[in-house]
Amino acid sequence: MRPETRYIIFAAAVLVIIALILGQLPGSDAATHEILNKLKVATGFTLLALVFLFGFAVLMYIASGRIDLSDLLSETGDSKGASMSRFQLLIFTLVIALSLFLVVVSNMAFPATIPPEILTLLGISASTYAVSKGIQMSANQSNTQPQTTDNTVVVANPPAPVVVAPTPVVVAQTQPPPPPPSVMGAAGGS
């Protein structure tokens, strides 16, 4: 378990225990109600601080480059360079998100209805990106599989043939047996 998860579970457990103790405290209902309200406010501020710290960490990571946005528009594969379909999807998403943000900030409420034209526009934009990706992928695949005139597919990089080399037989060379000890004395003794 990650340390952050452990801290969050620990904080939640502490809050639950405090709430249980406060709920079981002897005293009038009004006093208990007031204490629980204070606990609610304290929990709210703690959660706000946590959300702020997470958001601030994301901001710092983007600013320092640990969250890298430089390849956000780049196309992968054979066609290098920025992609128009990615760019239009990004622009429409940003414009509609910014508009929604302005509406929410000015009214302090989520809009009751979202016009269908906006959803259609986002759908068109995302579909264009997906179809563009599909075209790109199929073109890359047909590039890697060149075809001959008789429609037989030629594999660009055929696998190397497997050669099984005979293992050399190593014969252990044994030392020749030592010559028998000379029996000179015994032969020429007469």
């Binding site: 406010v41 706000l48 958001g55 983007i62 360079g81 990004l90 940003l94 943000f101 264009t128």
Partner: protein
């Protein structure tokens, strides 16, 4: 409790707006836009130019309308949505023609060799 609501409201406004602004700033500073208006063979593509112009016009029109009256989300004119759809169709057709046409030419060249 009122203080908690106000703090939450301003915190989210601050976080969302700063993340949005930083993303746009980093994007325009570090991301590369090279080759966006060019087809795969390196020539300037009219299909991409028309899409960029119409996209800029639509985005600007919508943003200005919202800034002018931020009480609700404005509907887009249906004609503009249809024009956007047509524009993207032209872009996709040009892209497919460029990519698969290039592959066909590559195939012909390899046959000639």
């Amino acid at each position: 409790m009122h203080l908690l609501f106000n703090t939450a409201r301003w915190e989210l406004i601050l976080l969302v707006s700063s993340i949005g602004a930083l993303t746009i700033w980093k994007l325009f500073n570090s991301a590369s836009f090279a080759g966006m208006l060019r087809a795969n063979d390196g020539t300037l593509s009219p299909a991409r130019i028309q899409m960029l112009v119409l996209m800029g016009f639509t985005a600007l029109q919508y943003l200005l309308a919202t800034i002018h009256d931020p009480s609700h989300l404005h509907p887009l004119p249906p004609g503009l949505v249809m024009a956007m759809g047509g524009s993207q169709l032209v872009y996709l057709a040009a892209k497919a023609w460029s990519l698969f046409g290039m592959n066909r030419n590559l195939g012909r060249n390899s046959e000639g060799k």
